[in-house]
Symmetry: none
Subunit: 233 residues, 2 copies
């Protein structure tokens, strides 16, 4: 939700700013506001937004006209803001292009709830399968499998958790205490050696030459490190 970007267009500054504040309180940091169609069109053309809130009546155009431009750039959810006086017949037409509509004056909590529902649904759709790349291999988290040259290799539970931990913190030295805490949990004490054995078994699967590890290297006295070249964390 935090990476979502919302555009609010309303010529009444008080309302536009209020919407911004409401959404900000809901943890949506990027809320852009503008007060005219002209301004709005430029921003719409960037296509970076995950949700649009458009007033129906603007001094230099209509929200409906704007919505058409939005739909050319994006299929993100689109809300209309409308005065309560507008007759209901119109709303059916408006809803054709919109995902929701809010009548003024509106309940801030309702607005927030509707925005969040739509954002969640929209953002969920673009979630990609989580795959970490490192060196010549990659880890498919969903299936708990290693992928090396297209071949899928099974991992045991401990091996998977171990590798998953490394993938979450690439190029970082991870101490045995951290490993122990993440993979085994707080309660039990286990032998140092247990970790080493598991590292060893893991290296058999991911290292081209397990006797000379380059993917997971040991850092004496500190821990282990997963080496990733093109690191995008």
């Amino acid at each position: 939700m935090n990476k979502a970007r919302v555009l609010v267009v309303d010529d009444e500054k008080a309302i536009a700013d209020m919407v911004q504040i409401i959404l900000y309180k809901e943890g949506i940091d990027h809320v852009d506001v503008c007060y005219s169609c002209q301004e709005a069109e430029q921003k719409i053309n960037t296509g970076i937004y995950s949700l649009y809130i458009l007033d129906m009546m603007l001094p230099d155009g209509t929200g409906e006209a704007l919505s058409i431009k939005v739909r050319r750039r994006s299929d993100a959810p689109l809300f209309f803001l409308t005065a309560k006086t507008s007759d209901a017949d119109k709303l059916v037409g408006f809803m054709h292009g919109a995902d929701d509509y809010i009548t003024k004056p509106f309940n801030p909590l309702e607005l927030a709830a509707r925005v969040k529902v739509n954002l969640k649904r929209y953002l969920a759709r673009e979630q990609v399968p989580q795959v970490y790349e490192f060196g010549h291999a990659s880890l498919d988290v969903a299936s708990a499998q290693l992928i090396i040259q297209g071949e899928r290799i099974a991992l045991t539970e401990k091996q998977f958790h171990l590798l998953h931990l490394f993938c979450k913190h690439p190029n970082q030295v991870i101490s045995k205490e951290q490993i122990y805490e993440y993979v085994w949990g707080y309660d039990d004490f286990i032998n140092d050696n247990t970790i080493m054995v598991h590292i060893s078994k893991l290296r058999e699967k991911i290292e081209p030459h397990p006797e000379k590890p380059i993917v997971i290297t040991t850092v004496r006295g500190l821990g282990y490190r997963l080496n990733v070249v093109g690191d995008r964390t």
Copy 2:
């Protein structure tokens, strides 16, 4: 839109029937109506609906409880009907599971518009396959039958839901908790072993060599996985 099926649950017969008529006028022919949770649960479990409209307060339960059961079977849009007196704080919580909420008394045109918007979006993205293919077999969802080399094999209810869950998330490790939640639900506690027995019986039907499973493989300590690509474990 004509193939859409909508379920309306409200103990006030007048309202439920009115909703049915409104939607009928909009060209939605299949609108099922029921007046209690008990009735509703049976219909929900069929999972055939493309949209749900649930009253919050029912004589034998809450709409929220029903929504949980809906979400186990379907990700179709879900509306809440609520009395206007309900304070707005609650609505935020309710909206977590819902896609929209309507306050009574409601504007028929608004209801129709909201339903159509959500149906359109859902049906457009849906393309829920009626038949899932995996390995040498496939699952026909409509008839709850396995198809192996043209031969149709019956599945029991639990076997079907189990396999359906796997088909929805191919190549993903599914934990016993997830299986339990989807197939059995929150209410009861069941033995781990129950799941194993059902997996076993399912394997008898779909595996070429049940003693050496390749379609549904177990991932020790994590769960089970349906393998749809030609990979071995």
